[in-house]
């Protein structure tokens, strides 16, 4: 596993991506495989790519039809005598030549234009069919600037809330799950199987079903509108317990016995022997937890009702004003929201695959 990972670096990447079955020649099976994989990449990556690219489009560009692939903007020019910069158009002249002109205003199918190099020549009325806008590639970074400015600092609060929930919940999840897994994998006690089955059985209950009871408990405890109200209800996850238990089963009991003879208390065995040896599985659980916490929508939606405790996901959903959805800001924020996870995956993918492979859980 680590071998294939290291092969993806440097010039090996090309060799890795063009590997063929068996010999040197490409067989039909190779073609089908690569075709299928490319289709998969296309289907999965396209929406993400669309969001990413579109987040750099101006509002006008976003609502344009037909849509453009890359973010583009109309070329504009300052023309003497006009307050705002005017958009440039390529206008087909009567003699067939093409001239660049600036549009002052458009009424129906006619547009008033002016020659930007010679504004004194006066306005010309032109059929819009003869004019095509002059475009240039333009990354609308101002979407992001506007997002960060216009929210009045709220977005930083959202980021803080999301980050706080994600980090604290993940830490607590790791501790809770690993302690349960340790007990279930390394101790023999009456009812251990029942406990394990009960934990796994909760996998079969859809989260939406327990949403109302969860809310009632949270509200009884007085944690509505507190970040802890989102963190605490889901710190113990059945998948995490099961995954860690399966991994801990592979740690030889002799190690624990050796530690016991070395005067280690059960607590010390847990955090000095079992935890360090379970790092790959812990990494997997951490990644799953970070992912689900960061993307969590339902629980925060019902528990957190005040804007100052909103998470990023809630803020995203709230991105509409009286005129509808503010697409350019929404897209910019979606991109920002997805980035941390994307980076986490980039750097941790080696551990994730290794961890999942070694726990035998897919």
């Amino acid at each position: 596993m680590t071998d294939t990972a290291s092969q993806t670096n440097g010039p090996n990447l090309v060799r890795f991506l063009t590997r063929k079955q068996g010999g040197i020649k490409m067989t039909w099976a190779d073609r089908v495989t690569y075709g299928y994989l490319l289709l998969g990449v296309f289907v999965m990556l396209l929406p993400v790519l669309w969001v990413f690219i579109s987040s750099f489009k101006e509002p006008a560009n976003l609502s344009e039809y037909p849509p453009t692939l890359m973010p583009v903007t109309m070329e504009k020019v300052e023309v003497e005598g006009y307050k705002t910069p005017l958009p440039l158009f390529e206008v087909v002249q009567e003699d067939g030549s093409v001239k660049v002109m600036a549009q002052i205003r458009r009424v129906g199918i006619r547009a008033q234009m002016v020659d930007p190099e010679n504004p004194g020549a006066g306005r010309v009325t032109i059929d819009v069919k003869k004019a095509t806008p002059v475009r240039k590639f333009h990354l609308a970074i101002e979407n992001y600037e506007e997002l960060l400015d216009s929210s009045g600092g709220n977005i930083w609060l959202n980021i803080y809330n999301s980050a706080f929930i994600t980090i604290v919940a993940t830490l607590i999840t790791l501790v809770m799950n690993s302690m349960a897994a340790f007990a279930l994998s390394k101790y023999q006690f009456k009812g251990s199987t029942v406990a394990l089955i009960a934990i796994i059985a909760t996998l079969m209950v859809p989260p939406t079903v327990i949403l109302v009871p969860t809310y009632l408990i949270v509200s009884q405890v007085g944690l509505v509108n507190s970040l802890w109200g989102v963190i605490l209800p889901a710190v113990a996850t059945p998948t995490g317990v099961f995954l860690l238990r399966q991994y801990m089963l592979t740690i030889p009991d002799e190690l624990l016995e050796a530690a016991r003879m070395d005067h280690a208390s059960e607590w010390q065995i847990y955090y000095r022997i079992v935890l360090p040896l379970s790092t790959p599985a812990l990494a997997v659980v951490a990644v799953f937890s970070v992912m689900s916490r960061w993307n969590d929508f339902l629980l925060p939606l019902i528990v957190l009702n005040r804007p100052e405790v909103h998470t990023l996901q809630l803020a995203l959903a709230g991105f509409q004003n009286e005129n509808g959805i503010v697409w350019h800001l929404l897209l910019a924020m979606t991109t920002l929201t997805a980035l941390p996870l994307a980076f986490a995956f980039l750097f941790l993918q080696r551990y994730i695959t290794a961890g999942i492979a070694s726990t035998g859980v897919k």
Partner: protein, 360 residues
Amino acid sequence: MANLKLENLNKTFGTVEVIPNVNLDIEDGEFVVFVGPSGCGKSTLLRMIAGLETASSGDILIDGESVVRTPAADRGVSMVFQSYALYPHMTVRQNLSFGLENIGMDKAEIERRIQDASKLLQINELLKRRPTQLSGGQRQRVAIGRSIVREPKIFLFDEPLSNLDAELRVVMRFEISSLHERLGNTMIYVTHDQIEAMTMADKIVVLRKGVIEQVGAPLELYNKPDNKFVAGFIGSPRMNFVDGKATSVTADGFNFSAEGLGDLALPRGQRPVEDNQPVSFGIRPEDLKVVGDEGEGWDFSVSVSEQHGRDTYLHGLLADGTEILVHQPGQFAAKRGDMLKVMPDENAWHLFDSDELAIV
């Protein structure tokens, strides 16, 4: 430094009695080897002494003090595990110091003990490495080192050499023996390999199904096995057994007769044999002599001849169909299908009754 006493020790898993009732005395400084086939309960017995397995009943006394309810760490014993059980995420030094740090020992004292042990076992170059970076023999040394630094009263070894290759096993066997001589501690060593038992032990305890079959010095067990099981288990290659009857019993001698083999006249000594008593005649491969292909002796047809150079081992069948093995010193020309005559050495045979007990 301590003696160990097991009193009516019993271990039951559910309804299965793994160790029915064991009584054993081990003197201070002895090197005792528990030996037996797999599943004989020798490891369970060791783990009970270590405190990793609770005793169902009975008592374990170290230096006259009952430790049967004492936690493993406080019994003053240390154990070398079959898999070594080194902590993979710690360096050799941390592996050695882990137990000492846990009891809050002074840093300087820990360092002194680590230095002493690592010098003794020649692992001082390895202290910064992790177990995965060590060879099998080095891991073995570190595992022993971890026992030594604790300065226990009794060392316990659970099949420590079974993961090593044959050559290294011989080396480590010698090293553990010399370690015992230097430290002088009581050591209990579990193995299924009777060669390890024979070469290392002051005292061998042969176990079968949780029952002690015989306790004694290696050669005592070899020369005077109490029963057929010990006779067959101790000694390599194992003893041959021929089933037959005692006939023509007189005050001086008797005949051992088996179908197709004729009568073999043997001196009786003090043996309580009766006429027509079914007996099993035990003879070690090296005590069977090939006496040519004519004349007196048992007919023996060779099926396989193993040439070791210095020795020759002949596998084959007697006339009654019993499979036996004959050892011939030196190089001996024989091939499959050869008919030979073999004769037991008249001073080196064993006789067992139908209950497999030795008739002496």
